[in-house]
């Protein structure tokens, strides 16, 4: 299925608004209720959706845009997540024919796999930046609890994003072409 460019802009604007709402939940509401140890990185989930479900040269730019918005809420900045997003997108392109997000379980497993690739990339870059690979397992492990929770809610969020991006049920593994 092909999508028009004007529709892409509208869908992207709604996705940014959704990301801002979720970032506020992560940075303010959850810590206010005592959830401080692990953050739910919703930006990862939204970028994963774009990387897996959309087929367009605009996707890298959209990932960059989403990461710039995320950088307002995080010292992490935009660059690290953008690179991780591109790596995940490239891996998803290779595996796309094998991915069938038809059931909730498949969506959860796929999201967990790609989150692992994302966090592996981020951990390697952080360790390179702090020149300390002793912390590698500790940093990687710190992502796991949050990522499992994100995988559990991925079917719901992906369903919402499918409505925003108007992805039909029978679109197939390649997703929407723009």
């Amino acid at each position: 299925m092909r999508m028009r460019f004007s529709q892409l802009l509208i869908s992207f604007a709604i996705t940014v608004a959704l990301l801002i709402g979720l970032e506020i939940v992560t940075s303010t509401m959850l810590p206010a209720f005592g959830w401080k140890e692990y953050r739910l990185t919703f930006n990862v989930l939204i970028v994963l959706f774009l990387a897996i479900r959309l087929e367009s040269p605009a996707v890298p730019w959209m990932i960059l845009g989403l990461q710039v918005v995320h950088s307002v809420f995080s010292i992490e900045g935009w660059a690290l997540g953008t690179l991780a997003g591109l790596i995940v997108m490239s891996s998803a392109n290779y595996l796309k024919e094998l991915l069938h997000l038809t059931t909730a379980i498949m969506t959860m497993l796929t999201v967990q796999l790609f989150q692992f690739i994302w966090f592996l990339t981020v951990t390697v870059i952080i360790c390179l930046k702090i020149s300390d690979f002793d912390k590698f397992p500790l940093i990687l492990w710190s992502f796991i609890p949050g990522s499992v929770f994100l995988s559990l809610i991925a079917p719901v969020l992906f369903w919402i994003l499918e409505q925003i991006w108007r992805v039909p049920k029978d679109v197939g593994p390649r997703g929407v072409e723009i």
Partner: protein
């Protein structure tokens, strides 16, 4: 066929350009001290009030939830009575909360009175949304006199320093973050070391040689070196020591003296003219220091 080839070419070019841009971004410093970008400033100023509102409505949310639960399955009269009791209890809770807040603020101000800096009281309104960084957002900014690199404390000890300010909000890099390294002194032995954030709300004390007699329970305070933190602010306590078999240094775990789980209000210390690092020593330490320097002079 030609169209598909063109599309995949555009895709490859897009990927390469964005990858180069992000590699450039990564090669820059982890975070920039100083003024944020205009985009960052505008979005922060627009969205931070929402964060502030949500953070302060926490009490109302919890009380609504508790009240809802308490009136389920009761008779009409009981509902009215329960409502009345619940309202009174709410008032009492609010008063109790105000009393606790008062006592916290008093303690905070008493503690900071010992520091010869200008003080700005601020509330925590948000945390960093990424898991691997430990940053908090405060509801005061450059309009209230807050500057970058200003130390942030509570009555329990050191929180971190301000790394970014907008007009009304500022972001603080806490000592839990691995990018924040604090020069510390072991109170008992006067040994110098560096406290660095690790993960899961813990810190580590680095560069302490094996022959230094550091013990579990030793307290750490800022050394006043480096120009950010005043000397003598509590940082944490040694909880575990591991003298590795190889290497010259020991691995020391530290628990911060500030309970970051319960962090609500903080004080930002603004250095005034002539108050650089060592000027802001708590009275006891200052008196001890003065005595020591007098004895040294004699």
């Amino acid at each position: 066929m030609k169209l598909i080839q063109e599309s995949s070419k555009t895709k490859i070019v897009s990927n390469i350009v964005v990858a180069i841009v992000s590699f450039y971004g990564i090669s820059q410093k982890q975070f920039d001290l100083g003024q944020p970008t205009l985009f960052n400033k505008v979005v922060t100023e627009v969205l931070a009030p929402v964060q502030e509102g949500l953070a302060s409505s926490k009490k109302s949310f919890s009380s609504l939830w508790e009240n809802y639960l308490s009136i389920v399955d009761t008779s009409k009269r009981n509902q009215i009575l329960t409502k009345q009791i619940s309202r009174l209890e709410n008032d009492l809770t609010s008063m109790e909360e105000i009393r606790r807040e008062n006592s916290r603020l008093k303690k905070l101000l008493n503690y900071s009175e010992e520091l010869s800096h200008q003080k700005v009281l601020a509330q925590v309104v948000g945390w960093d949304s990424a898991n691997e960084f430990k940053v908090i957002r405060l509801n005061k900014g450059s309009r209230h006199g807050i500057k970058t690199m200003a130390p942030v404390i509570t009555d329990h000890g050191l929180v971190g320093y301000v790394y970014k300010t907008t007009d009304n909000y500022s972001d603080v890099l806490t000592i839990l973050d691995q990018n924040n390294r604090v020069d510390v002194l072991v109170e008992r032995t006067r040994t110098h070391g560096i406290v660095e954030g690790v993960f899961n709300f813990k810190c580590t004390l680095k560069y302490i040689t094996k022959n230094e007699p550091v013990e579990v329970g030793d307290k750490l305070m800022t050394a006043g070196v480096g120009g950010i933190y005043p000397k003598g602010i509590k940082v944490g306590m040694v909880t575990d020591i591991n003298k590795e078999n190889f290497g010259m240094t020991q691995t020391i775990d530290v628990v911060p003296s500030v309970d970051f789980d319960k962090l609500e209000e903080v004080i930002v210390l603004i250095p005034t003219e002539g108050t650089v690092a060592e000027a802001a020593v708590p009275t006891a330490d200052r008196q001890a220091g003065d005595r020591l320097s007098e004895e040294t002079k004699k």
